[in-house]
Symmetry: D2
Subunit: 284 residues, 4 copies
Amino acid sequence: MLKTATLLIDCPDRKGIVAAIANLLLQLDANILHADQHQDIELGLFFMRVEFALDTATCDEAAFRARFAPLATEFRMDWRLHFADHKQNVAIFVSGYLHCLADLLHRQQTGEFACNLSMIVSNHTSAQPLAEFYKVPFYHMPVTAATKDEVEDRQIELLRANHVDLVVLARYMQVLSPKFVDAFPQQIINVHHSFLPAFTGARPYHAAFARGVKLIGATSHYVTADLDEGPIIEQDVVRVAQNDQLAGLVEKGRDLERLVLSRAVRWHLGHRILCYANKTVVFT
Amino acid sequence: MLKTATLLIDCPDRKGIVAAIANLLLQLDANILHADQHQDIELGLFFMRVEFALDTATCDEAAFRARFAPLATEFRMDWRLHFADHKQNVAIFVSGYLHCLADLLHRQQTGEFACNLSMIVSNHTSAQPLAEFYKVPFYHMPVTAATKDEVEDRQIELLRANHVDLVVLARYMQVLSPKFVDAFPQQIINVHHSFLPAFTGARPYHAAFARGVKLIGATSHYVTADLDEGPIIEQDVVRVAQNDQLAGLVEKGRDLERLVLSRAVRWHLGHRILCYANKTVVFT
Amino acid sequence: MLKTATLLIDCPDRKGIVAAIANLLLQLDANILHADQHQDIELGLFFMRVEFALDTATCDEAAFRARFAPLATEFRMDWRLHFADHKQNVAIFVSGYLHCLADLLHRQQTGEFACNLSMIVSNHTSAQPLAEFYKVPFYHMPVTAATKDEVEDRQIELLRANHVDLVVLARYMQVLSPKFVDAFPQQIINVHHSFLPAFTGARPYHAAFARGVKLIGATSHYVTADLDEGPIIEQDVVRVAQNDQLAGLVEKGRDLERLVLSRAVRWHLGHRILCYANKTVVFT
Amino acid sequence: MLKTATLLIDCPDRKGIVAAIANLLLQLDANILHADQHQDIELGLFFMRVEFALDTATCDEAAFRARFAPLATEFRMDWRLHFADHKQNVAIFVSGYLHCLADLLHRQQTGEFACNLSMIVSNHTSAQPLAEFYKVPFYHMPVTAATKDEVEDRQIELLRANHVDLVVLARYMQVLSPKFVDAFPQQIINVHHSFLPAFTGARPYHAAFARGVKLIGATSHYVTADLDEGPIIEQDVVRVAQNDQLAGLVEKGRDLERLVLSRAVRWHLGHRILCYANKTVVFT
């Protein structure tokens, strides 16, 4: 049976990497569907993404891993292998603003994302009708300063029990603790409503309006322990019109947030993102 | 004789401003060629730019000013009147990178700017051939920490002696002192090679590369005493390609710098910019 | 009672128009909230949009119209007056692709459009669940070559019976007859999935892919009797990635379609669009 | 001695291509600096660009070609090999508008292009001062309907005598005959001042203004016998402001022309472009 898989590699750059990988794929009779590579010249690092079709009757996933492991050791690779028939489980966290959620739900319905939407988690109830319409389990989990620690424990447990692979913060207005972030390394994507690193923190549209910038932006990024400092996945901007008041910026910004968050989710689910040195390599 | 003039106004917003201005222009038999207005609703401010044609045989500049003054007092206006036949004098300051200078010189030659290029001032000599080719007086004024104060005095004197209306810092790598800045309020335009307020200070491309942003930007702004904090005139961005190393960012950035600086200069010379609250209103 | 109204004017350009309008508004004690004007210098035309607040206790809509009419006659104006408290009725026509519909429905729910969604009309049934979720009446009206004429008659009747002010074709895959178009002049907005005038007609993404363009676009426009030839309201583009196959263009294009259609609807509902010479003036 | 070379390949897609190339490079002790590949899935084509460093003491260009030839035959490859130390010779053709020329000359001076500027050819004399300033040989070759055939013969001879590798039409307002075009296949780059395929032919800004588009564009492309129909290399657009008259479009368009033409030249000189099916693959 022909299966599609994606291999993601990063390792120190040296001669022979591409030949070694290409030869192994050829020996295993794999058909390369798409390959992309990237180098960080300054740091001497090599990154590769290969998408290939494999006949699992002759070489299944375990066999592939066994064959690949020695090569990975030889070249000191960090590597991940993903078979396309494994659908990833995604949880969306949201608060009161629902535009990103509504957008993600519709994209999922139209087949833009290859994933299961496992759950929507919210500290509000306003997302519940959308969750029901799109038939995604909804968990209302209010958070206060006093309960935050305990609520996060329950959230982590819930995510693990459902084998969630990716947590999407779709304008979730709670700062996650290091404990939560550490439990899902490079598995939490947030959208920040500014062109980072400009306007970190709260109320970025207000800050952008006060500073008088001529373009506003939005940024999707992996969440790390440092707020708004994680590896940037995607950014986009839109021009401010002379007559835009603050409300106009917020309205235009919503469109940007939808775009940069949905692209980040699509790329993550397509195994197109590698992280290093607090940056991302995105193979688009 | 028919002359074109531009009137720039800002004042507290209240009823009757537009009617008062339009009536006066009608009484003076002026023909409105273009009018634009803007309000800052939160601050209750009104801004207007009117371009009109006036028969100076029946109403010359002095007469116009005399007729307009009482109205300005009544509405508590700040106002500026510019006749298009007064060509502004522009000085360009530059250091070692000449791409913005070469661009400005060619634009001036093709008639894009309505100005006289009075001089090019540089702490290097590399700009001299371009200055000679375009027949613009060139002043080599090297600067050291020890001589900076004295050099600035000579520069201010030189600018004043030549009735310079606008100083363009086209990648001039010296920080101007408050003394210099105060001598030319809202008459100094700088280009900063980042999307402000991100990456203020030195080496912004290096900082952008290190942070892993997905777009790089450039910003033109009026110079104030606070470095990189003056009113933003124009910004633009370009997408970083995955394979761009630092040198690629610098190269792409040069195109942005040319664009945002030349737009700022064109708009300033066209009397299209009003400053308030450390922001700009640009009537494009 | 204070009411907000918008006045849209186009007329031959001549001295005194702005003064006449501003004076009348001042006499009626109207407070100008926003004013914008535009000239087509070649054709000698003047366009204006004024948004103002009016105390209808002293001057109601009928009184305003009576006072304005002589001035309009004098300056040979075409003019339209809209009071903001009159909510416009909007019908959305859709076929099998629902991304624009879902987007419009969510925007309406978040208050981005000041309108009533009167109905969704479709030649398919797939939009019905969305219609029900957002509580908008749904009309399934299948069309064949044989029934088209009769179906259009029923649609026109339905739209008129519901006092529909704007028909939005959100990827409605039926060409409207001149009879239909003439029944709603400048009241039908379509989205075409190309950067018009490039790639008119059917399957524009296929044509764009075949031609090898480096950017793809989408266009929203008023519908006229000539297919894809009506006045353009808004356009936007996005860069094609080297690896994009046809499906990638279609996916990226959906985001553009949503953006340009929703902007057109918002501007139309905000009375921000004037048509002349098969073009639009958009006061943003 | 270590030399950098670029290999460009297109061939039918099949298993083993990447392994074969990578193995050969490894055997020749070449160090891959950068590799990029692309597939046209529908047409079953494979494209690759490999940049590598080679020790020419052990394997010189002739040796490399001899080793590569059998592999190319086996995989039915079209291939080109370029050593970076061979500087390409470039001719710029220009008429009355000099903005693209001035831009290219300055970029060349700052080291942005790895080439020799062999000559500037013009049917006008206005470019002569720029040519002299940048020390590029200038040929004034006026063209009339009567002399065109003979002038083209002389131009072809001149280009061949100077071993010109690339002809850049920097707003050259003469249509080249098939004879000329055939003499330099995929070696002539033109800039067209519209977003092709919209507004082909003469006066595209006029046509764009008349149609009322909301964005204007520019396109760089290889010249083929069909005017404006050659493979597109790069395109970009800029937003039209409501108040832009025709002259404003022309002015904004000049910036686009400079950008898309200079990018095309840089990519061509960097051996980053492959043509097939009247399209380009650009490895950026």
